[in-house]
């Protein structure tokens, strides 16, 4: 009486399943690293009991480029293009955060026009990034690309504006230590005006399509809930934190680049679920448009780049500058030893840290819920792995 090894293994599994109490064998399913809903090379290992997620473990590092090490061998200016590649969907915000940190280290004063241009592009970047985030989120909910393509249209116009200003659409490399690389081209402001004029109607269209959609409500409400206490303790930031009701926005809390001069509001959610995150992003786009309007109206004249030596050697010391990137609190921690390159270059990646609570959010839901939750956190793998 001999059993095959397969039979023996299977029997062992059955015994384990029976003694574990629920009488069924869990299935481990790999989502990624190449999977339509993982937004990059991100791998999520979920253990499923039927469709219910029992455990979710993420495996990352597929896009690790060791930027923090590379940056230690390049001068402060040479490091700016790296920051584009960290979060390639919000390159402007990354440029900005790094330049702020470097300026703090070098003690550079930024001219007012540069500050206004920086705010303009940071907010345009937020509009583009949130368009991408919300579009892919609806896609993760199972829509057949329609909202995504509509939102891509807006993003496309923003990227066109980036292109006419600095020649690049995605990895812009536009900010410089002490200002921005180029002044605004003549055709930018009319394009921006047209964009600002068109956006309210577009947003109204999205809201008509999505906000009262019963299926979207059924898919996103009460899913991936996290309490404000847990969110703060898990260092979540950005729309994920604000959706729980915590009004924490670095543009208000720690204004940089003259954000204190602009009137805008911080939308917060109530229940901390996926739908609130979606709504917060929708509302933030409107606030960004408000800021853009004010920037265009009050754009000062003058130089757009402070006089910073290209071969700058900051004094030994350290700096930690943070901005509110579309994904949350994006910080750069630089240590200088007086040399031409940073002694230590560290990026505080909101995408990575927002994933801390992914396991807690997805356990107990279904596989489909886990994917919606992942979509609502809005990760960029370049920033997770760096």
């Amino acid at each position: 009486m001999t059993m095959s090894d397969d039979t023996r293994l299977a029997m062992q599994g059955t015994i384990e399943a029976l003694t574990s109490g629920d009488g069924s064998e869990p299935v481990v399913v790999n989502l990624g690293p190449q999977h339509p809903s993982t937004h990059g090379v991100f791998r999520l290992k979920v253990t499923l009991d039927g469709e219910i997620v029992q455990d979710a473990e993420m495996r990352i590092g597929y896009l690790h480029r060791s930027m923090e090490k590379l940056a230690e061998e390049r001068t402060y200016t040479q490091n700016i293009p790296f920051t584009d590649r960290i979060d390639y969907l919000a390159a402007m915000s990354n440029n900005l955060a790094y330049c702020l940190a470097a300026e703090e280290l070098l003690g550079v004063e930024v001219p007012p026009r540069a500050n206004a241009i920086r705010v303009m592009f940071a907010e345009l970047q937020r509009v583009a990034s949130h368009a991408m985030a919300n579009g892919t989120f609806i896609n993760d909910c199972g829509a057949w690309h329609t909202p995504l393509f509509h939102m891509f249209r807006d993003r496309e116009r923003v990227l066109d504006m980036f292109e006419m200003t600095c020649g690049a659409r995605l990895t812009t490399n536009y900010m410089r230590i002490g200002g921005v690389a180029f002044d605004l081209p003549d055709e930018l402001l009319p394009t921006l005006e047209q964009f600002l004029a068109d956006m309210p109607e577009n947003i109204a269209n999205y809201e008509a399509l999505l906000l009262e959609n019963e299926i979207l409500h059924a898919r996103a409400r009460g899913i991936g809930v996290i309490s404000p206490e847990m969110a703060i303790n898990s260092s979540l930031s950005g729309p994920v934190l604000r959706a729980t009701g915590v009004p924490w926005d670095l543009r208000k809390a720690n204004p940089y680049c003259g954000y204190e001069d602009y009137e805008f509001d911080v939308p917060v959610g109530e229940q901390g679920d996926c739908f609130d995150r979606f709504l917060v992003r929708m509302a933030e786009v409107k606030e960004s448009l408000k800021i853009l309007r004010q920037v265009v109206d009050t754009l000062p004249d003058g130089p757009w780049l402070a006089d910073v030596p290209l071969h700058a050697r900051p004094d030994p010391g350290e700096s930690y500058a943070r901005v509110e990137s579309p994904r949350g609190e994006l910080g750069f921690y630089l240590v200088s030893d007086g040399g031409p390159a940073p002694y230590r270059f560290h990026c505080r990646p909101p995408s990575l840290i927002n994933l801390t609570a992914l396991k807690e959010m997805s356990i107990g839901g279904t596989l489909a819920d886990a994917i919606v939750t992942l979509g609502s956190i809005d990760i960029v793998v370049g920033e997770i792995d760096r």
Binding site: I232, S234, E318, G331, Y333, D337, R348
Partner: protein, 202 residues
């Protein structure tokens, strides 16, 4: 505007419950690694400091020691405090994990473990994160991939610059005195000298 929380005030809060666990040097709060968890929990729970949000956690390799840098943020008081702790042991650096105090330290400590090789005692899931298991070495250490003859990664100076601006000598990095309670490294730590005569440090 986020203000910097006064390090001295923080030191007093910590030392009130755990005497000697904190000291201030040059405006920076240093914590005793042995009592790090207790001290940080005190800072988090005290009404005056209220540092509930772990904004950033990273490490810096200062060659003689590792410096752990924590940026703690109070959301309601809107102030931020930079806290540091030092580990001198290069062979097997270890530090208590903050995951019990801040859940947000979970992935950041894994990252530091992965890239610096600093173990965090009490971390529930301390594995390499970006690099695969068995990857040789810890890339963000300064001596990673150090070549014979002391050729090392780094930028000695700007291109076309004179010799005098070469890479600063190790040890000229600003070194703050270690905390008196820090465990002292056993034996003498040999530091790489620029002339390429002595042995490597580890």
């Amino acid at each position: 505007m986020t203000s910097s929380y006064d390090a001295t005030a923080a030191m007093e809060i910590v030392n009130a419950s755990a005497p000697g666990a904190a000291c201030v040097d040059d405006g920076v709060l240093f914590l005793d690694p042995e009592r790090l968890v207790e001290a940080v929990r005190t800072l988090r729970d005290a009404e005056a400091s209220d540092l509930v949000f772990l904004s950033n956690l990273t490490a810096v390799d200062h060659e003689l020691h590792f410096e752990l840098v924590y940026h703690l943020q109070s959301l309601d008081h809107n102030h931020i405090l930079q806290v540091k702790a030092r580990v001198a042991d290069r062979e097997d650096p270890s530090l208590p994990s903050l995951t019990g105090v801040y859940h947000g330290a979970h992935l950041q400590e894994r990252e530091v473990y992965d890239l610096f090789g600093i173990r965090f005692e009490g971390h529930p899931d301390l594995r390499r994160m970006f690099l695969w298991d068995g990857f040789p070495g810890y890339p963000l250490r300064k001596d990673f991939l150090q070549m014979p003859g002391q050729v090392r990664a780094g930028l000695p100076g700007f291109p076309h610059e004179s010799e005098e601006n070469a890479w600063p000598v190790p040890g000229s990095v600003p070194q703050r005195p270690m905390h008196p309670n820090d465990p002292q490294p056993e034996g003498e730590l040999v530091v790489a000298e620029p002339d390429g005569e002595s042995e490597e440090s580890s």
